[in-house]
Subunit: 426 residues, 2 copies
């Protein structure tokens, strides 16, 4: 299959240069970018007045939590978890997770996300939904041992079973990633075993680290060191690790993350909504740590809109430091695209010859995107996910002119609503 996108304004390469050009896609790759391309293609898309952007990479979410969107807000973290989220999670069936994931995948396609990292449970159903939807994903069953050997065994068994299930899908878009939940729910011995398994199977690792002040204090009390120091001491941290949140990081933590090549997945909306705190972005960037962007789950955001997330990231750090120059539009745009690709060692996140064909077309014929002075600024500060018109992943068109092609949108909306209502009535 080949696609020729004509007459667009292309955000080209790592430097985000704006080029008036065509983009030619063959198979799952971008083959040519240039003016007046003459290639014949199976599908030709006219992108006049539109912007061709790399697709967005959401490096931390819990897809099926779409089902809990708006169910409980504005609550202290523990009340939210203990009285609302956890009781419902215990009731979730694999089928619920399938429909919740498909709703999340639909939301991502409609707002321009092309790749994401997901941690949840009943991951076979997440994988099935993602496989059907056509997105690129790194999926993990989130494991905890709670210092119990028995729990550790059953969790590892389920993780390896999930790994095999995903391998059997034989998809070039869906990968398994190991996902120990967090240092406060996983013992050091358990974390070491996960690290070994990741090496053995050649898979990446993602983990929640230092999201709240309370959890950092708890770890310090228990081990006499910060969560990052603890993880480093047991040899857990490498350049195949993505830590989610990293809100409460010391100078020493940051230098460890840099030394080990760890990526920090920044979740501004969730950190703000749950009042977790503000990630030290300036310090991380100054130290040269790779920082990617993420939405976290729908229950604490409450959407998966990476364009909105970019604005939140930029604005949060400006007001927090009282410095309007930090987190500029280019920095934040790279966090949402190429930094995510770097974290995942994926040949995507940019538009250039040879990169994976994960891209989106954004309609700028809208009052909130005019006049056009600076395309990157508009995408970060003025646009939202609904401005995405066409979404292409791995060379396949998932949405064209706002119409989702890979599955039945209406059916997903209806089923997800019914599943959520049924869940509450159980």
């Amino acid at each position: 299959m080949s696609i020729l996108i004509k007459n667009g304004r292309v955000i080209y390469g790592e430097s985000l240069e704006i080029m008036d050009a065509d983009v030619y896609v063959e198979g799952n790759k971008i083959v040519k970018v240039g003016k007046g391309l003459k290639e014949s293609a199976d599908v030709v898309i006219d992108a006049k007045g539109k912007v061709i952007s790399p697709g967005f990479i959401n490096t931390h979410t819990h897809l099926a939590m779409t089902l809990f969107r708006g169910l409980a807000d504005d609550l202290p973290l523990m009340e939210w978890l203990q009285n609302h989220i956890w009781p419902l999670e215990r009731k979730l069936t694999p089928k619920d997770i399938y429909w919740g994931s498909l709703l999340g995948a639909l939301e991502m396609i409609k707002s321009g996300t092309t790749t994401f990292v997901d941690m949840y449970f009943h991951m076979d159903e997440v994988a099935n939904a993602v496989n059907e939807a056509g997105l690129r994903a790194y999926l993990t069953y989130g494991v905890v041992d709670l210092s119990s050997e028995e729990k550790a065994e059953s969790e590892i068994k389920e993780a390896l079973r999930t790994l095999k299930f995903i391998q059997k899908l034989n998809s070039d878009r869906i990968e398994f990633i190991f996902g120990p939940h967090a240092p406060y729910t996983c013992s050091p011995g358990f974390l070491r075993r996960i690290r070994e398994l990741a090496d053995e199977h050649g898979k990446m690792v993602t983990i929640h680290v230092s999201e709240t002040k309370t959890e950092v204090e708890q770890i310090k009390e228990q081990y006499g060191k910060s969560p990052v120091e603890l993880l480093d001491e047991i040899g857990f941290l490498r350049d195949d690790v993505i830590i989610a949140h990293g809100v409460w990081l010391s100078e020493k933590d940051i230098s460890i993350l840099k030394k080990r090549g760890v990526t920090v997945a920044h979740n501004p909306a969730s950190n703000m909504k749950l009042a977790s705190g503000v990630m030290p972005l300036r310090e991380l960037l100054e130290a040269g740590v790779n920082v990617s962007l993420a939405t976290d789950g729908d229950a604490s955001n409450n959407n998966l809109d990476m364009l909105e997330e970019m604005k939140l990231a930029a604005l949060l750090h400006k007001v927090h430091t009282l410095d309007p120059t930090i987190a500029n539009a280019y920095t934040v745009f790279k966090m949402a695209t190429q930094n995510g690709a770097k974290a995942l060692k994926l040949n995507t996140g940019v538009i250039k010859e040879g990169a994976l064909a994960d891209l989106v077309i954004i309609d700028f014929n809208k009052p909130h995107l005019r006049p056009i002075h600076n395309i990157i600024s508009h995408l970060v500060y003025s646009a939202n996910g609904s401005d995405v018109e066409t979404t292409i992943v791995n060379g396949k068109i998932l949405m064209l002119d706002r119409e989702v092609l890979s599955f039945d949108e209406e059916k997903v909306l209806d089923k997800a609503q019914k599943v959520a209502e049924d869940l509450l009535s159980r």
Copy 2:
């Protein structure tokens, strides 16, 4: 003219009760809200699966600054103003302002704003644009005297000329409001004269107050008191005053604002983007001060999307205070609707019998708005302006199913682009 909106989910009254109901509009008023209304109407709209919400009230903006959207971002305030905004503003012609305002009006209609307060210059052209667009607005020529008697005279002359121009339009939607720019650009004597003129003409007043720390320090050095104390001392503050920003307010300032019945227009996006600081929302609400919501101009936001602004307000105050319970969805929704109406002493901002027919219909058949657990939460945390489908102001349909009826959208997009490009080339 009459409109019957059938089968909607209505956000009813001050308490934001969700009612499955029809809404019947006659002339410029909401006449009936209830199930199965049998009134015949000129226009019948089916709102099945949709939400009928009060329109949003944006209590502080500079509409024509749409022309500067994305032109200069991520800069220190003075560099931004002196090297980018002010030089361009000096070049703006009345025609530029007309097209910039029409672009802003278009953006507002498409994102569900029905009423706004605007401060700028060449206000005849803003009034013409707003009159054509069909929005409800309070317009002011922003005056400064810079301690010059001559300047004061010419500014007052222009303000009164604008007042008369707006009176002659004879619109029941467009009002003049007095707008001294700020205590640091207007002398106390000048502010006293504006106060007297407002009383004499029975008009309201709006003014920038305590937006940045620097300006508060400057006023303190010059007068030995805070801007709010200074304004109170000269008898400026009454319940017909809207102060924009109010970022750097002392406890004493807040008690003065409460005592005088002043409204504070909160501009979270602008305060964050320009790194001005965080308005003390908790303290203002605890003191019982009326707080409304606003976007500020497009140059410092960079859009006029009140739905996005609600999310920013909620999230900013949670993370700033590390308390997830403050600025809950209901509080913030009221800031964006009924608190704005209260500030303007307008019988709108709620849907109930007898209120002005300023309302919007929002399509919830979208993945990021499903499942529907809580409508107010979805509007604050999950929705964006592009979800607004139909906008009605003063009983007139300005947009129906995303199509703007009051003027030619394509023409405005094109003209605004040309005007902006021409401005930069001058």
